[in-house]
């Protein structure tokens, strides 16, 4: 599976995401610098990593969302290429308008860094097919701006269309309706605050994130 991970100035989970992709798919992703205007051809998957792109200046993800490569990412997403944004990557996707809503400062104002229990709300998506609907999994979070907010109509639409992929089971950051991860209307773009690439191998003490990449690989290979 040919994939790419976009690297912004200030990304710090790009290598983790690349290692996860290589471990599961057997092929290392191309690392693409944010200043590029084109992605490699024939990509089956694009990852936007966690971190602090542009030092979170203005708003988390705001600068990265306007970087040259994001036009190419938006075009690829439009063509149906699967795109996963983790943490800062989720913030970038909302700022770029590829996902609705916004990620605001955590309601408790603290940086939250711990494993959190999540409920898998949608097990039919191309990212979540290896999970059971309603299953509880544990994935680490590490963020300051993970408080997902959108207007009530948008939230109702996300819920009604099965686009809430993951929900926090405990209070984490003040997110509306406990939303931890959402899909776009075509289902090929997933943004989530928890870090599945940090729950991937025995040394992590937790393998719950691995099935996300395995599910993606299976769907793409099918």
């Amino acid at each position: 599976m040919k994939s790419a991970v976009v690297v912004f100035p200030g990304s710090n989970c790009d290598r983790d995401l690349a290692v996860a992709i290589e471990q599961v798919t057997g092929r290392a992703p191309d690392m693409v610098w944010h200043g590029e205007t084109q992605l490699p051809d024939n990509l089956s998957f694009i990852g936007l990593p966690g971190g602090f792109s542009y030092g979170d200046y203005l708003r988390s993800g705001a600068m990265a969302a306007r970087s040259p490569i994001m036009r190419a990412v938006a075009e690829a997403a439009e063509r149906g290429v699967p795109v996963l944004g983790v943490c800062n990557g989720f913030q970038v996707l909302t700022e770029a308008g590829l996902l609705p809503g916004a990620l605001m400062r955590n309601a408790g104002l603290n940086f939250v860094c711990r494993p959190v229990p999540l409920r898998v709300e949608n097990s039919q998506s191309l990212f979540t097919s290896q999970y059971e609907a309603g299953e509880t999994i544990s994935i680490p979070v590490a963020h300051h701006d993970g408080n997902y907010q959108a207007d009530p109509d948008t939230l109702d639409r996300l819920e009604g269309e099965g686009r809430v992929a993951f929900r926090y089971l405990d209070e984490c950051n003040g997110s509306a309706r406990g939303i931890a991860g959402i899909l776009n209307d075509s289902g090929n773009v997933l943004g989530m605050m928890p870090h599945p690439e940090r729950a991937l191998e025995p040394a992590h003490g937790n393998l719950d994130g691995r099935r996300l990449f395995e599910g993606l690989l299976e769907t793409v290979a099918a």
Partner: protein, 81 residues
């Protein structure tokens, strides 16, 4: 010419930073503060003749996230010193 852009959270959007500031003011003994909302002030130094619609476009495309924020533009016509 200069312009100032004030970016503020929309009414009803929870502002944890404003709440913390409010709490800290109370801790300093300032009574009578009913609410605090925190925002941003962005100063732009612009070429003469930059139109209002150009500045508004800057706000919509980057300076404010209109999902959660409002913006207000104030033009200052005096020359920059």
């Amino acid at each position: 010419m200069k312009a100032r852009v004030f970016v503020t959270l929309k009414p009803g959007v929870l502002d944890p930073q404003g709440k913390a500031i409010h709490h800290a003011l109370e801790g300093l003994g300032f009574g009578g503060v009913n609410d605090v909302r925190a925002g941003k002030l962005i100063e732009l130094d612009l070429a003469d003749g930059t139109s209002d619609s150009d500045i508004e476009s800057m706000c919509r495309k980057l300076l404010a996230n209109t999902v959660i924020e409002n913006f207000r533009i104030e033009r200052l016509e005096e020359p920059v010193r």
